[in-house]
């Protein structure tokens, strides 16, 4: 069995990403899965992409554009971001 390699894109371990560690995974062509050297995560590309999407849960303003920073002691007001707009 040949050694593992980097994938086409350097997918990071989604489990480590969630704890603020950026570590590239390696690709095992025999099992067609990515795996992490740092933790025990292993998964197919589809699972990695799904978990990367889940990792965005903390960014509650991910799709929002600031409408107004408001008064100093008021929260920021947001509006939905329009695709292609800046």
């Amino acid at each position: 069995m040949a050694q593992a390699t980097k994938g086409k894109l350097n997918y990071r371990c989604p489990s480590c990403f969630m704890r603020d560690i950026d570590i590239d995974m390696f690709y095992d062509s025999h099992t067609e899965e990515y795996y992490c050297l740092r933790c025990s995560f292993r998964g197919k590309r589809g699972e990695v992409l799904k978990l990367n999407q889940q990792a965005r849960y903390r960014y509650k303003a991910l799709k929002l554009r600031v409408a107004d920073f408001g008064e100093d002691n008021e929260p920021v007001s947001f509006k939905p971001h329009e695709g292609g707009a800046q």
């Binding site: 086409k8 894109l9 350097n10 603020d20 560690i21 303003a61 600031v66 920073f69 695709g83």
Partner: protein, 599 residues
């Protein structure tokens, strides 16, 4: 003064980017690819009518092609040609210096001087003049002073990357040794003694204006991984802060971040600043992180497009680095005005709000989500002489030490025992106690004749059925004092409550505390040598203090005619405590904090 949003856009042709070389090998076409990336970046900025600073790297000075490109763009677009001390790695450098090192602040003094002279001489040979701008991820005072002495034309330098320290190290699987926490987030004039510290006087002025390596999110970067949250489009992609909508990737956070930097003019007399400096490795043709090249390129184009649109609307002034240095000096007539940033969360959807303040005396952060608790404090007044590089005590660690760093050293919350570093206030009544760290609030900013003031919205503490409504006010004086007022704003019906203003401190540059037995604590003339015994001195006095010889700092607190206490910690909780306590039934207590250079 007029509102100005000043922007520096900086590009460096590396030809041999360290990221690409490591990942793909030096002989795999990285040179041509890197040149293409530089050309793409230049063309993109110019497409949107923006001026850049081209920071020539050591490797690029060997390339006739890049030299001609730089000359062409300087002539046609008004770009500045500067000299970067990043991008040292290349065949010629390695053969000459017999090393794989590439960070200028990590070399020994002799090599620092040799490399600076070598690069500046080559630059002069190529262009017929010496540069007016230079930089690196970090520039120590020794290197800045040497450059300024030998090449007085230099007036601007990239001198730190904000809060790049243990967080970056951990994020990079404990492999990225760029420890440079503790500096200003926005441009400053560095002290001749320590480049992190804003100069206090003409004599202390290094002669350059320093700019940060990136403009970073002042909340997200402090709380988490620093490398995901800056005005660097590929950092935003690294943080996965984008989504796909109708076949196109969107990243409004990048624009929100630029806008919040623009908003900071409100706290700095109409001046605000932003910089973008994307190294070629981030626009790698093979893609980076999970993002394909098309997304990397699109995000860079979009960033330039946004800057270009702001410029067209007259809301952005693109400057080269040396132009910015002239502008900055003209705009900052004294050395004592602090840089201010009242910063709101724009990513996580919370109402969290920080206030950052940097002056020649200190850098600090108040967290209004914790009632205005001080969660970061750096004693610039100490003017620490920190030498970095091989042959010194700090081979790689260039961070300026903290006295308080609530994330590295716990802050309010600890696991069962001990205490974390934070400055806050405890309220007691009938044997019950609450800490204002647990009172979420927001604050408003005011400029005063002698500094700035932050006024928190009042919070309510309820103890044994008694509601105690407290307003906290923080004043940052130009003389370095921080004055804190805790004001009871409701009628307590004659009931007396005890307020304890406290400072739990430590010192260091990482999460781990060095031996503290050199520390001395005291109240007025009474003192205590630190021995991890948990002992205290309590007295009615004038000043409670701590001397920290390892960081040349003396901390003093006083002001309310209170009971003062200085306490040492224990081995399990290596911190020290200073506090002032007073019992009142109405009115306020006012205390002050001063940092001074010791020994």
């Amino acid at each position: 003064m007029d509102k100005v949003f000043a922007v520096n856009i900086i590009h460096r042709p590396e030809l041999s980017p360290e990221y690409a070389e490591k990942a793909y090998g030096a002989g795999s076409g990285v040179r041509d690819e890197s040149l293409d990336i530089f050309v793409f970046q230049q063309q993109t900025a110019h497409k949107y009518g923006l001026k850049t600073t081209i920071q020539m790297t050591y490797a690029s000075l060997f390339s006739d092609e890049v030299v001609e490109l730089a000359k062409h763009d300087a002539k046609k677009y008004g770009d500045e040609i500067g000299l970067s001390l990043l991008g040292l790695p290349c065949k010629q450098f390695r053969e000459k210096y017999k090393t794989e090192d590439f960070c200028i602040w990590m070399f020994d003094k002799k090599d620092k001087e040799a490399i600076v002279d070598d690069a500046f001489s080559m630059f002069f040979d190529r262009f017929g003049f010496y540069p007016e701008s230079t930089g690196s991820y970090f520039l120590d005072a020794y290197t800045i002073n040497y450059i300024k002495k030998r090449y007085p034309s230099v007036k601007c330098a990239i001198a730190t990357c904000w809060e790049e320290g243990p967080k970056a190290y951990h994020t990079c699987n404990n492999s990225w040794y760029t420890f440079m926490d503790g500096g200003p987030w926005n441009p400053w004039i560095p002290s001749v003694v320590n480049s992190h510290c804003p100069a206090a006087s003409k004599e202390d002025d290094s002669g350059i204006v320093a700019i940060p390596h990136l403009s970073r999110d002042l909340l997200a970067c402090f709380d988490g991984n620093g490398s995901n949250f800056g005005t660097h489009p590929q950092n935003v992609l690294r943080g996965m802060i984008y989504y796909r909508d109708k076949g196109r990737y969107e990243y409004p956070y990048l624009y929100n971040l630029i806008d919040q930097y623009r908003h900071l003019e409100k706290y700095n007399d109409g001046y605000s600043y932003n910089m973008m400096f994307v190294g070629p490795g981030w626009l790698n043709k093979r893609g980076r992180w999970e993002a394909p090249y098309s997304l990397l390129a699109q995000s860079y184009d979009d960033a330039m497009k946004y800057y270009g649109m702001l410029k067209q609307r007259g809301e952005l002034w693109d400057m080269t680095m040396s132009e910015f240095a002239d502008f900055y000096r003209a705009r900052h007539e004294d050395y004592s005005t602090g840089e201010c940033a009242l910063w709101k969360d724009i990513l996580y959807g919370s109402n969290k709000q920080y206030f950052w303040y940097a002056s020649p005396y200190l850098r600090t952060c108040l967290d209004f989500n914790q009632g205005g608790a001080m969660i970061d404090l750096r004693p610039y007044a100490a003017r620490l002489e920190q030498h970095t590089g091989i042959g010194t005590d700090n081979v790689y660690d260039a961070s300026y030490p903290y006295l308080i760093q609530a994330n590295y050293r716990a802050g309010y919350f600890t696991h069962y025992a001990g205490a974390g570093t934070v400055k806050s206030c405890r309220v007691s009544y009938h044997g019950k106690q609450a800490d204002l760290c647990l009172c979420r609030t927001m604050a408003r900013y005011e400029k005063t004749a002698t500094g700035v003031r932050l006024i928190c919205d009042p919070v309510t503490v309820t103890l044994d059925g008694l509601d105690i409504v407290i307003e906290s006010v923080f004043e940052f004086e130009k003389n370095g004092e921080v004055v804190v007022t805790r004001r009871i704003v409701n009628n307590l019906g004659g009931e007396a409550v005890t307020l304890e203003e406290y400072f739990t401190g430590a010192y260091g540059t990482t999460e781990y505390q060095k031996d503290m037995t050199s520390v001395t604590l005291g109240v007025d003339d009474s003192k205590l040598e630190y021995k991890y015994m948990g002992r205290s001195i309590t007295a009615e006095g004038r000043v409670v203090w701590a001397n920290l010889p390892d960081v040349s700092t003396r901390i003093e607190m006083g002001g309310c005619g209170c009971v003062l206490t200085a306490s040492e910690g224990i081995a399990f909780s290596p911190v020290y405590h200073l506090s002032l306590q007073k019992t009142i039934s109405k009115g306020e207590i006012k205390t002050w904090l001063k940092l001074q250079k010791a020994n």
